[in-house]
Point group: C2
Chain length 223, copies 2
């Protein structure tokens, strides 16, 4: 008698995600797209970071954005107002994006017209880390008001990240306990080769040149 | 022939959680404990909020704390340094606390010696909302640097909350787009009877009296 083969639910989900990821990645290579998965806490400045990057680069690169939010189109509208293609995914109660959702979004976008694709993940320092979206780079934003210990307290997401960006650096003077070196040090304890940037997008002095330079030179990266 | 009765996995988990919740709540009523589930984004100021509440009340009330973190005992050490009983739960990669974990923690604590129990949940605006811990009140912290739109963007957790507290109000002058009225307005659209407070715990003027008064008068609340 044949033995019934059982595939546990979680394994089946992981397998399906892997198939979608491979398909997404092939699509990115075929269309010369480099994709960035932007992750971070709620309110760490993900949309502002993408907006300012667009403003710097939109004459040099064709940019598109996928916005992930539980609800509302507030962030997508901000991006659309910059004249950039944006696709909104509302996850309802779901705490992260997954490859199935990204695949559905890409099917509705004109991939031949994109150089750089930014995916703004749901604001969450835990769940998005377990979900590969086919991205070339995972970028975590860590805002100054959150304090310098986030890499130690949320190590799983930092272990899987390629880049960490300190945001709201214009607020550093109001947070004497936060130093850029402390946060980068903690991040490197968890991921020694993590790439580090600091940005200030709202104060008197705008800081983002190093990030933009890196972005302009970023190569496809099949993680 | 008997029909095989199948209980789906999620239903079984929910049922087990409900049994634990009922047991926890009975234990709280028997020991005259009021329990507060403190939720909010990573870095919104949960530990600082609990610390300052302890400093105000520790001569009047017997306070204990359960700290939920993916990793480290950084927060638990801060509470312990105030001379208060604290129990650390490290969830590993898990994005929230659940009733099973709280039940295990309570089994190791001296419940006869507690008036107010604070549970600091994992920093996350999504997942903790689906997990009843047997608490009397769910309290969401919303820090000024996160912006005023969090209730609209994370409605599920606000719908289940009893209280919203704006934290880091000493930073209001640096965030001209944030007004207390806007955030409270958005929260009340989602949960009309939500109770609202504003605190400032690090600036020149400490603001927390209204919260402390409410807390001193809080009654048991079998949600």
């Amino acid at each position: 008698m044949n033995k019934i083969k059982q595939i546990p639910v979680l394994e089946r989900v992981a397998k399906a995600n892997e198939i979608f990821v491979n398909e997404i990645r092939e699509n990115f290579r075929k269309n010369d797209i480099i994709c960035f998965n932007i992750m971070g806490s709620p309110g760490c400045g993900k949309t502002t970071f993408i907006e300012n990057t667009i403003l710097k680069l939109k004459d040099k690169k064709k940019i598109a954005v996928i916005e992930g939010d539980l609800a509302t189109t507030i962030d997508a509208e901000r991006i659309r107002d910059l004249g950039v293609d944006v696709f909104q995914i509302n996850t309802g109660a779901m705490c992260h994006l997954d490859a199935r959702l990204i695949r559905e979004a890409l099917a509705k976008m004109d991939l031949s017209n994109i150089d750089l694709l930014f995916i703004e993940n749901v604001g969450n320092l835990v769940c998005p880390s377990s979900h590969d979206l086919g991205e070339d780079y995972r970028i975590i934003l860590a805002s100054v008001p959150e304090g310098p210990h986030k890499p130690k307290k949320y190590p799983v997401i930092y272990k899987e990240a390629d880049v960490v960006v300190i945001t709201k650096a214009d607020l550093l003077e109001h947070f004497p306990d936060f130093t850029v070196e402390t946060l980068f040090g903690h991040a490197k304890e968890i991921k020694p080769d993590i790439i580090t940037f600091k940005v200030a997008l709202k104060g008197k002095e705008i800081i983002m040149d190093e990030w933009i330079q890196w972005l302009l030179n970023a190569k496809p990266n099949n993680r």
